[in-house]
Amino acid sequence: MQEGAPDPGLYDYHPYNARPPLRWPGGKTVAVWVAPNLEYYEIDPPAHPKRKAWPTLHPSVVGFSHRDHSNRVSHWRMAEVMTKHGFPGSVSLSVALCQHHPEVVEDARQRGWEFFSHGIYNTRYAYEMSEEQERAIIEDSIRTVREATGQRIRGWLAPALTHTPRTLDLLAEYDFTYTCDLYHDDQVQEVKVARGRLASIPYSLEVNDHYGFFVYNMSGREYADALICQFERLAAEGERSGTVMCIPLHAYLIGQPHRIGPFAEALRHIAADGRAWIARAGEIVDYWRAETGGQG
């Protein structure tokens, strides 16, 4: 990016009505990927100069234990629903979860899910890191996930969505394929980086379950309806040029007993429709690049 410039120079402007034709495998019009955030939030993290980790003095009992629900109860509830309806996960992973609760990571691996890094912990923020420090968390992420799962991570969603001006350039330098940090489009797009190349895959923050429940205050049923509306529109528009729908999730939210039933119905609807290419993030970006040469 152009540090200090009013336009950070992340990408070129591509009008939505002038995109090259793109059909997903099997003639599908919308690529649908599900991004469960498998996270570890520290109960007593060190202070960061720019952002507080918890709203109360530590231990922030509700904040910590709400998120801990994922790793004791709701990960498996969410994962079973996804597996039942044929949706693999592309995991936004706090890589320290590999140390704390390897059982959760192993469950995801055995389901054939893809992993990308969401930082070391969701309570360690990248703002104001030096280049050396940011390289350290990138290298830690690559090493930790490889040791735990055998996978070389190809994607990045910055920890708690905290960045530095050099984040995207570093990802390209370390041969990452995609970033989930930019929310400017409903299609895969090229990101401008200093050297090499990097794609932006839509992560659809606006239909993230956290946004659904705590920004837009939806009920479980309203959120499921929003996902179906999102899907219907993107599937229709994908007739012109293949679109991407992401469903970003947190088990401690979507896996609550009052929300999981309607969510399962939304997945059933999307899988039964026939227009969805249900895929993992890396496959979607690879196919886009092979078909469009990055000119999508």
Partner: protein, 309 residues
């Protein structure tokens, strides 16, 4: 520009938690819990009885506390409405449905409104300790001795005013300090309801039991915070029950728990109480439902823990 080097050090990065309060365990891998009568979903109604001093105090402001400049008649009286009217509607609704509940009660409620607490006890409901009053919040700014004195005072005042010494504790806003679990144990409490990380009881390292009172299912969260209607709240409770009953059935009748946290000044309003009454009637008619107090759920769980050894 760089962060302090300690920010990239992770001294607790290892197997299990980065604290020593309780151990990790996945619910689906534990031996199944069985509730009495082979019923699969324990429905735990927990009502908070709260008295907010018009002069705020304590380590932090409790949810629902005074908001305007002094004197905040608006919030003082709107909260007290729950104790004068709303809670009585709850008692009638529970009696009509034939169900028992827990009442997480400030000591000040037991002292100030003895008629209400007597009716709670006479109805067969449970008293759970809920600090002194809504200024009796706990966080890590309290020194251990002050927190211990607060817990001891709350227990003594509730017992003196009601004749009952509760075995369970709910912290205001579920907020604890690093010492709370040990202090509750020292004061003879069997369980707390503060940690929302599970859907069944589990034990802390010090022996205290946590009975998770899901905050996401509370009327405060869904109606006051997320601004949903009472009917939307009730629909979410029905969806939750339906899902939990299905999970229990899929695992051969394994026990699940649906905690329903109620606030008299929220759900006890005239235009909302009907949604609660309708929900209770529906759930009471479900063949899987075991309506139980917190202490009854804890006792059933403890008996099986002991039987397993």
């Amino acid at each position: 520009m760089a962060l302090d080097s300690a920010y990239l050090e992770y001294p607790r990065r290892g197997r299990g938690y980065d604290h020593d309060l309780y151990e990790w365990s996945a619910l689906h891998e534990r031996p199944p819990v069985r509730w009495p009568g082979g019923l699969s979903v324990a429905v735990w109604l927990c009502v908070s009885l709260e008295w907010f001093p018009i002069v705020p105090g304590g380590p932090f402001a409790a949810p629902g506390h005074m908001q305007t400049a002094y004197p905040d008649f608006r919030h003082y009286t709107a909260r007290d409405y729950g104790n004068r009217v709303g809670a009585w509607r709850f008692l009638d609704a529970f009696a009509a449905a034939g169900v028992k509940a827990s009442f997480a009660t400030n000591a000040a409620i037991a002292e100030r409104y003895p008629e209400l607490v007597a009716a709670v006890i006479a109805g067969g409901h449970e008293l759970v300790a809920h600090s002194t009053d809504m200024n009796g919040t706990i966080d890590s700014s309290l020194i251990r001795e002050a927190e211990g004195a607060l817990i001891g005072e709350a227990m003594a005042r509730i017992e003196a005013a009601s004749g009952v010494r509760p075995t369970g504790w709910l912290s205001i806003a579920r907020q604890q300090s690093w010492h709370t679990a040990d202090l509750l144990k020292e004061h003879g409490l069997t369980f707390c309801c503060d940690w929302v990380n599970d859907e069944l009881p589990y034990r802390f390292g010090n022996g205290l039991i946590n009975l998770p009172l899901n905050h996401e299912l509370s009327d405060r969260q869904i109606i006051a915070t997320q601004q949903k209607s009472a009917e939307s709240w009730a629909e979410s409770m029905r969806d939750a029950f339906h899902w939990l009953a299905g999970e229990g059935k899929a695992q051969g009748g394994a026990g699940r728990m649906l905690p329903i946290h109620l606030t008299p000044y929220i759900m006890g309003l005239p235009y909302r109480i009907g949604a609660l009454e309708g929900l209770l009637a529906d759930l009471a008619a479900r063949p899987e439902a075991w309506f139980a107090t917190g202490a009854e759920i804890v006792a059933a769980w403890q008996a099986q823990e002991q039987a397993r050894g």
